[in-house]
């Protein structure tokens, strides 16, 4: 049977892609962020995942306003990336795990999550950067199942809905018959706002309250509407709903093995965290 080995949560700021490309990991600006991955590298080497299920939000590469899903799951044999117009490197492609993708997609639909299934799908930095950070400079030993969540067009799916989605995905993984070792990612956040007169908004207190809530009280964030989350954490900080979905895959309480929080990376309060079932 498949087993969830744990969850990794991390920021996916596009500028990280350039920092990796230009080998800036030890640069004083970047070091406090990249050092947060030393633990991740050791831990991943121990738990040896075979599949990564990644909750992320697309920024206008795989999806755009012409047809914008609230939830979409990749069911492809391979996933491609390409130039996303942000002036950052183009990342490498990934192999998919179609059997697991369909298993999860079917389970979601049977659980009344009307998820869009994608047999061709481009992914952007929001998926690629966490993979590059977790498996730097090596052939990644995993297949992926991407699950995309809309954070562009409001109303965004509620925190409660994303947590429930994650719980349904977690149940689906645990009922999968093959012996896969599944590592779940939630990418994006934490607080940041790129646009408007409030550009540069960061809210350390809210971020830390959110992080503290995740192990044993992930429902904490579900008291807020999408708009209230945007108010507290910035219009792009709402990406934390990807974290809630990832957290939901761990049934019951979780425990945090590692946390690194650093302000700022670009305009963002950067955070990296590893959690496993308590």
């Amino acid at each position: 049977m498949a087993k969830i080995v744990g969850t990794i949560y991390t920021t996916h700021v596009p500028a990280i892609g350039n920092a990796i490309r230009n080998k800036k990991q030890d640069d004083p600006y970047w070091k406090p962020f990249f050092d947060g991955f030393n633990f991740v590298h050791d831990w991943v080497a121990q738990v040896q995942p075979t599949v990564a299920v990644v909750f992320y939000n697309d920024h206008g590469l795989g999806f755009w306003l012409d047809a914008l899903p609230t939830f979409a799951i990749g069911c492809a044999e391979e996933y491609k990336t390409k130039d996303e117009g942000w002036g950052i490197p183009t990342f490498t492609d990934f192999d998919g795990d179609t059997d697991l993708s369909w298993h999860i997609a079917d389970a979601l639909k049977r659980a009344d999550f009307d998820v869009v299934t994608c047999q061709e799908m481009y992914f952007d930095h929001a998926l690629a950067i966490p993979m590059e950070l977790t498996w730097p400079g090596v052939q990644r030993p995993i297949k992926i199942v991407p699950i995309e969540i809309n954070t562009v067009l409001f109303p965004i799916p509620s925190a409660a809905r994303c947590l429930a989605l994650g719980r349904a995905v977690g149940k689906a993984i645990e009922s999968y018959g093959k012996d896969e070792r599944v590592l779940v990612f939630g990418t994006g956040g934490l607080s940041h706002q790129l646009e408007g007169e409030r550009a540069g908004f960061i809210n350390k207190k809210f971020d830390l309250d959110f992080v503290d809530s995740l192990p044993t009280n992930p429902e904490w964030a579900t008291q807020f509407t999408g708009e209230e989350i945007a108010e507290s954490t910035g219009t792009q900080g709402v990406e934390l709903i990807n974290w809630l979905a990832a957290r939901g895959t761990i049934q019951g309480d979780a425990k945090t093995l590692h946390m690194n929080y650093h302000i700022p990376i670009s305009d963002t309060a950067a955070c990296t965290m590893v959690q496993v079932a308590a």
Binding site: G60, W64, Q193, E197, G200, A230, E231, P264, D267
Partner: protein, 112 residues
Amino acid sequence: MTVYTETIFYGPASTRGYPLNKMCFTFNDKAARDEFVSDEAAYCKKFGLSEAQTEAVAARDILKMLAEGGNAYYLAKLASGVLGLDMQDIGALQTGVTKEEFMAKLVAAGKD
């Protein structure tokens, strides 16, 4: 707290901003970026940008692009990919401070 609600992107803004955002979406391709640079006004016209949107693009006025329905994620393809600005340049432009002041504000947010 009036600022944040203005930047939350709902359907009506998405309708108003569709030509502008659609143009920005094309900037995923280098050929499109080059075509824009070679004749900005013609490229804006090709996508049916309104007069106000075209003026905002010509003036590099990001706040006005937002007011005309631009979405931050797509505008970033114009601002970063085409105009070569980084997020701190863009932040400074929008908030009326220097880049150094904008970056200092970010650092200060970590010390609270």
